[in-house]
């Protein structure tokens, strides 16, 4: 396609699918009614199927792509390398990459997976599911969180719902609501779970060689289950 900007008419809350082998992908959800690509030469093909989904592939499978779409758009991105950035407020988001970092502002639901990249989510209204092998996984706020890493650090700053984490050796830090359950399984990473002051969690802490510690008065406000082979565990008021 030429370097001219491209505008595509879309439904409200459209479904957009982007496939690219490499290159940075930046998607901005903003107050607008169309799907807009400032540089059309980044795009190889745009296809709209019968169900209304717009599928975009990049030029030669490799180009930096900037795309602007309506707020609430549902976006799926598949790439091998290259940073993926989603700015603004989205509906459902699915991102799969191998080596690129994934940086997401806000979405209703998120599924993001990479092998060696970092994943950062600012805010997720419902379920936030992220997975990386060696990168860092960071969720600042989510309704519920499911996180898996092998060696990357995991941090969930605030979650109003359940939190589920599996990691082989990454350090884990969780800010729990104190009303929903937290489950962490790790082999060797240290685990810190902060619950609101005054919360009385049922703490089920198991460590074969590490030191488990709960600094809160125990009760039944929520269940905090952490198991690790060798890492230290602490449940603290915060």
């Amino acid at each position: 396609m030429s370097k001219e900007p491209v505008s595509v008419a879309v439904d409200a809350s459209p479904r957009i699918s982007i496939a690219s082998r490499s290159g940075r992908i930046a998607v901005v959800a903003e107050e607008r009614a169309d799907l807009f690509i400032p540089d059309g030469s980044a795009v190889d093909e745009i296809v709209r199927d019968e169900a209304g989904q717009v599928s975009i592939s990049t030029r030669h499978g490799s180009a930096n792509l900037e795309l602007r779409c309506p707020r609430g758009s549902n976006v799926r991105v598949g790439t091998i390398s290259g940073r993926v950035e989603l700015r603004g407020s989205f509906g459902e988001v699915h991102v799969t990459t191998v080596t690129g970092n994934i940086d997401l502002d806000e979405a209703g639901a998120i599924d993001a997976r990479t092998v060696s990249g970092d994943i950062s989510v600012a805010r997720c209204g419902h379920r936030c599911r992220i997975s990386t092998k060696s990168g860092k996984a960071e969720i600042r706020q989510a309704e519920s969180a499911e996180v898996a890493t092998v060696s990357g650090k995991v941090s969930v700053d605030a979650s109003s719902g359940a939190v589920n984490v599996k990691t082989a050796s990454g350090k884990v830090e969780i800010g729990a609501s104190g009303q929903n359950n937290v489950a962490v399984q790790t082999l060797s990473g240290s685990v810190t779970v902060k619950v609101p002051r005054g919360t009385r969690p049922a703490a089920l802490l198991r460590s074969l060689s590490g030191k488990p510690r709960c600094d809160c008065e125990e009760g039944n406000d929520c269940r905090v289950a952490v198991s690790t082979m060798s890492g230290n565990i602490e449940v603290v008021p915060g």
Binding site: S17, I18, A19, S20, R21, S55, S57, G61, R76, V77, G78, T79, I80, H94, V95, T96, V98, D111, R113, V115, R129, S131, A148, V150, S151, K166, T167, A168, S169, Q185, L187, S188, R206, L208, S227, M229, S230
Partner: protein
């Protein structure tokens, strides 16, 4: 000139790869003996769950290559395995954190082994799955059709995999 090779002996079925997440770290922490026990437990659980006609094709380090003649059996068994692995991980300290990838297609038989493009695709799909997940290809979903009404399939989107020319739509199965 030599004789023209006979067409390969082909199969149509579902290829399933399993892979234990964190196996290297577990081995480093616990030693070879415990690592072998973990592999043995995975294989035992899988062997017990396999329906008639399906089989373990081979062991691949910390994973297994399985073959199923029926796509529904492959997906249903994989989900059942994840439930079993999860129970085992929670009840014991055994980290059976297994990811599973499923792809329906054609495979060439090489003695007891299976090879070919569709086997390679299946091996890439398992890389996309997280621990506890079953991820499958669109080809598998098409072969399943509406025969697993209690299973939910969530589209992950177009997934680009190294060595595979075209993007593949993948789905996360759950119930």
């Amino acid at each position: 000139m030599g004789a023209v090779a006979a067409p390969p002996d082909t199969l149509v079925g579902a290829v399933v790869f399993t892979d234990i997440v964190g196996f290297t770290e577990y081995t480093a922490l616990q030693g070879d003996s415990d690592a072998l026990a973990l592999l043995g437990r995975q294989e035992q659980i899988v062997s017990e769950a396999l329906p008639p006609g399906s089989r373990i094709v081979k062991e691949l380090g910390d994973g297994l290559l399985l073959w199923f003649p029926d796509a529904c059996d492959a997906v249903d068994t994989s989900l059942g395995l994840q439930e079993r692995f999860e129970r085992e991980s929670t009840e014991s300290m055994l980290p059976l954190w297994v990811r599973i990838g499923v792809h329906w297609g054609r495979q060439a038989r090489r003695r007891d082994d299976i090879v070919g493009h569709d086997v390679n695709v299946a091996s890439r799909i398992v890389d996309v799955a997280g621990p506890g997940e079953v991820v499958l290809s669109e080809a598998t979903l098409t072969a399943v059709g509406s025969k697993l009404p209690t299973v939910t399939f969530e589209e992950l989107g177009p997934v680009i995999m190294k060595g595979i020319p075209a993007p593949i739509r993948l789905y996360r199965a759950s119930r």
